[in-house]
């Protein structure tokens, strides 16, 4: 039981980071129909901007985090505006865009590695004291990350549900042509979505790096496996599904790591992903597109 509860604690923190990341990832898919496989490289690049602000500009890590968020937003916007959008205008099949995204991912990840080298990095930041409750052990840092995730996801909920922009985003996601014909400025909505989701990407990258403690240029390279599993579990393009998917995958990987073998912890995410792709490619609650 105690193993279960302490691994549940790890699961919650993994899920918090994953939820931020997956919501951004799925929003990008929702409005542009692109599986942005370059997402992990933007995450880690943002984490490194935070690192430079933290170490070289001597900013507090939590302040430097803002730099990471801004970087994620700007870089994501630029990638969509100057790479994905021009390719999509040519009416290419989605797979071509995915191959392009893989190319961008290689440039992003290894471009970073070329600059920072292969060594290990960590933020100048205290983990704080360790809190022990309900059988879980969590540091102040980890609790802060969970709190950030809750606040940010609450804001996303408010954005989608109660703002004009959120409604426009949902309309664009459901049917771009219909939304455009109904007077939604779809191009503006898409750009704004990429800025917001890019901010989430930068935030996720930074808190991911804070949580792992030590990171390298290629740390987020395989994060895409968890992202895809969480997204497909909740249904591609469904922000609420992404939150739930992230919670499930985050907890499931950590709990299975405690009981089976930590080296195989991603296996469960992998099995979930393949199972979803095979049986319910539009998610557990996902929507099937009409003809």
């Amino acid at each position: 039981m105690s193993v279960f509860l302490s691994s549940l604690g790890f699961g919650l923190i993994t899920a918090a980071v994953l939820a931020i990341a997956t919501v951004g990832f799925t929003l990008q898919f929702a409005v542009t129909n692109v599986l942005n496989l370059a997402y992990g490289s933007v995450m880690i690049n943002s984490a490194f901007v935070t690192y430079y602000l933290n170490i070289h500009a001597h900013l507090n890590a939590w302040v430097a985090l803002i730099g990471g968020v801004v970087t994620g937003a700007i870089v994501s916007y630029l990638i969509n505006r100057f790479i994905f959008t021009p390719f999509q205008r040519r009416q290419l099949p989605p797979i071509t865009i995915v191959i392009v995204a893989l190319g961008v991912d290689l440039c992003g990840t290894f471009g970073l590695q070329a600059i920072v080298g292969g060594s290990y990095f960590s933020y100048k930041q205290s983990f704080g004291r360790e809190w022990h409750f309900l059988g879980m052990y969590l540091s102040t840092l980890q609790l802060t990350i969970i709190a950030i995730a809750v606040v940010v996801l609450g804001l996303i909920h408010w954005l989608l549900k109660y703002t004009k922009l959120g409604k426009a985003m949902r309309a664009t996601s459901a049917n771009m042509n219909l939304a455009r014909n109904s007077g939604v400025r779809t191009q503006w909505v898409i750009s704004t979505t990429w800025i917001i989701s890019g901010g989430l990407c930068g935030l996720a990258g930074t808190v991911f790096a804070m949580d792992t403690g030590v990171f390298v240029a290629t740390s987020a390279q395989l994060y895409i496996v968890l992202l895809l599993a969480a997204m497909f579990l909740g249904g591609p393009g469904e922000p609420y599904g992404a939150m739930l998917g992230a919670l499930t995958i985050g907890v499931a990987t950590e709990v299975s790591a405690a009981f089976i073998n930590p080296e195989y912890k991603e296996v469960i995410a992998f099995l979930v992903l393949l199972g979803m792709l095979t049986f319910r490619p539009y998610g557990i609650f996902g929507k099937e597109k009409t003809l």
Binding site: L35, L37, I83, P86, F87, L92, P93, P94, I95, T96, I97, V98, I99, V100, L102, G103, V104, D105, L106, C107, G108, T109, F110, G111, Q113, A114, G117, G118, L222, I224, V225, L228, A229, F232, P236, N261, E263, Y264, E266, V267, F270, L273, L274, L277, T278, P281, K287, E288, T290, L291
Partner: protein, 607 residues
């Protein structure tokens, strides 16, 4: 230096084999196998462990692995090819059904990542992260593997295998089966509706590609004598994709050129760079360059250095490219010779029956999307030898009903009967082979097939249109294919589009593409032809010419059901007419009867 050249020859042959296989999957069958490298990897491992002795007795047991049968050459290589083919089978479920291409691709990518992690961490299988070393070179008891002669001989064997692979793949792709593969690549749903079994076609290419990849792994491991998870990271697949894209997807020579330029070229160029202070810099920049190469090529030269070559079937030299013009050009399409066309002999039609019995019917057909019912309790009958019209306002469920009749869409409930058989759960390609052929509302031509290829690809029961038929070569199917091409040309002449026989179908005008689609559907030899708004966006004068031909077809014994918006078309050609509104059957009868029906008039005025 001589040793270096021998090494280059082996690497070049291995990379070429891998790229040829990937190109057959990606460039011809449209399968984005993002996990391709695992097929090469399994071949290398299997060849290694089959040729080595048991792990406890060999090499003092310092490495652990399964099997260890110490088999003589060439059994390990054959085993490697079989393993590569077998490994494809678990992934058939990903590519077999109509899963979006990019979804299936990420499924394969993630599989590659995870398999690499599993092999890395699970030592008993293939010795974990350290990998397997001291793999014996083939024939090492008879020759000295370190000798120059041996190394060149090995290179020679590798090149011969590569050439054999090249000719085998060319035989497959330049056959009617290859045409079906490219049709599937260009538009899988349409290929399905014309009777192509997507699952079989994709599986066959995954298995064939997997076998070649496995063999390439065996050749490689027999030469370098070691193999570990570091050699087959998921990103190696991206390098091979870059190679195929740079060389030219859909062109075998392009795949070989890409293999020489990208994987081989990059490896070798970096050998000659001066040593840098940061040893990680060069590999990192190599990856950046691969990424840039993919993006830049897809933007500036998406078809690669050697683009897919056009297949000229008509035998006429010189291709007329259609000039893009306004919609008016449709009015000028000359169907002058069409009345002399004998549909009955050209399309193997049964003799027209005088009785108009029901050939196709639906009972309480219902379809819901996410809880919204689009079609509710639709029971309709299509009578043999008649041109039935299906009409209704936007969103009435006309196209959905047609899609369910053709099997493109599964009904939520209800039953479909065809010639007295229940076909509700019959997949769409089987319905097509049984004689139910549909067309699509949206453009559905196979863009990178010529007009003539579009037509020929639809002809059913072609000898060369199976994997094994294609493997038997042109001598087996060539004669029949010639006859089929002549039939398609005759059709093309009747519809006045002969001059565009060898043009790519993607370049035609809207009206011309409609005609290509109708001709293609006819050559599929339907008993029941389901047309989804065939006149949409077509010039009215051309629409009437098409309508006249549909009437002739019905008189020759074909059954046609047509979804249409235009009342004028219904008036002129269709009897009986079924009216759908809000997913239900509102009325049916002749147009005259319907015009007297107040409910129908209201639905149209209000809807």
């Amino acid at each position: 230096m001589a040793f270096y050249i021998a090494t280059i020859i082996v690497y070049g042959a291995v990379d070429s084999m891998a790229c040829l296989a990937l190109n057959a999957e990606f460039g011809f069958a449209g399968l984005s196998n993002f996990g391709f490298i695992i097929f090469q990897a399994v071949g290398a491992y299997v060849a290694a462990i089959l040729s080595m002795g048991g792990w406890k007795t060999s090499n003092a047991g310092f490495q652990q692995y399964v099997l260890g049968w110490h088999l003589p050459f060439p059994l390990p290589w054959i085993g490697a090819a079989l393993a590569g083919g077998l490994l494809a089978l678990p992934f058939v479920f990903l590519v077999g059904k109509r899963l979006r291409g990019d979804f299936a691709a990420v499924g394969l990518l993630v599989s590659a990542v995870l398999l690499n992690q599993l092999v890395t961490n699970f030592v008993p299988l293939f010795n974990g992260a350290a990998g397997i070393s001291l793999v014996p070179a083939p024939f090492q008891g008879f020759f000295n593997p370190q000798g120059l002669q041996y190394q060149f001989a090995y290179g020679g064997v590798a090149v011969v295998l590569c050439v054999l692979v090249y000719f085998l793949l060319r035989r497959m792709t330049e056959s009617p089966y290859g045409r079906s593969l490219r049709a599937m690549r260009d538009n899988d749903i349409v290929a399905d509706a014309l009777g192509k079994n997507l699952r079989v076609q994709r599986t066959s290419m995954m298995v064939l590609g997997g076998m070649i990849a496995g063999l390439s792994g065996a050749v490689l491991v027999g030469f370098i004598n070691l193999w570990s998870p570091g050699a087959w990271g998921y990103a190696e697949t991206i390098v091979l994709f870059a190679a195929v894209i740079v060389g030219g997807a859909g062109n075998h020579k392009g795949a070989v050129l890409g293999a020489i330029l990208v994987p081989l070229g990059f490896e070798e160029i970096t050998r000659f760079l001066p040593p840098l202070s940061n040893p990680a810099l060069v590999p990192a920049l190599e990856w950046v360059a691969i990424g840039l190469l993919i993006i830049l090529f897809l933007w500036f030269r998406p078809n690669g250095i050697l683009p897919e070559r056009r297949r000229i079937l008509s035998g006429v030299i010189g291709v007329i490219e259609p000039v893009p013009t306004g919609d008016d050009s449709d009015a000028l399409i000359n169907l002058g010779k069409i009345d002399q066309m004998d549909f009955r002999s050209l399309l193997n039609l049964e003799t027209a029956s005088t009785s108009h019995d029901v050939i196709l019917l639906s009972e309480n057909l219902t379809r819901a999307f996410n809880g919204v019912t689009v079609v509710a309790d639709v029971s309709i009958e299509i009578q043999r030898g008649r041109l039935t019209g299906i009409i209704g306002p936007n969103g009435a469920g006309k196209s959905t009903t047609l899609a369910m009749l053709a099997g493109t869409l599964a009904p939520t409930s209800g039953r479909i009967m065809y010639e007295g058989r229940d076909i509700t759960s019959m997949p769409s390609h089987e319905r097509a082979r049984a004689g139910i052929i549909r067309t699509f509302q949206l453009a559905s031509e196979f863009k990178r097939l010529t007009v003539l290829e579009n037509l020929v690809s639809a002809i059913p029961r072609q000898q060369g249109d199976t994997f094994w038929g294609a493997a038997r070569g042109r001598r087996f199917w060539g004669q029949e294919d010639k006859v089929n091409i002549e039939r398609a040309q005759e059709m093309l002449e009747g519809f006045g589009l002969s001059q565009y026989a060898d043009s790519y179908a993607g370049g035609l005008s809207g009206g011309q593409r409609r005609l290509v689609e109708i001709m293609r559907a006819l050559l599929a030899e339907p008993k029941v032809l389901l047309l989804d708004e065939p006149m949409a966006g077509v010039h009215p004068s051309l629409a009437h010419k098409i309508g006249d031909q549909l009437t002739r077809l019905v008189d020759s014994g074909m059954t046609i059901a047509m979804v249409e918006h235009e009342l004028a078309i219904m008036d002129a050609f269709c009897d009986p007419v079924i009216v759908l509104a809000e997913g239900r059957v509102l009325a049916q009868g002749t147009m005259a009867e319907l015009r007297a029906n107040e409910e129908v008039v209201e639905a149209y005025l209000v809807g």
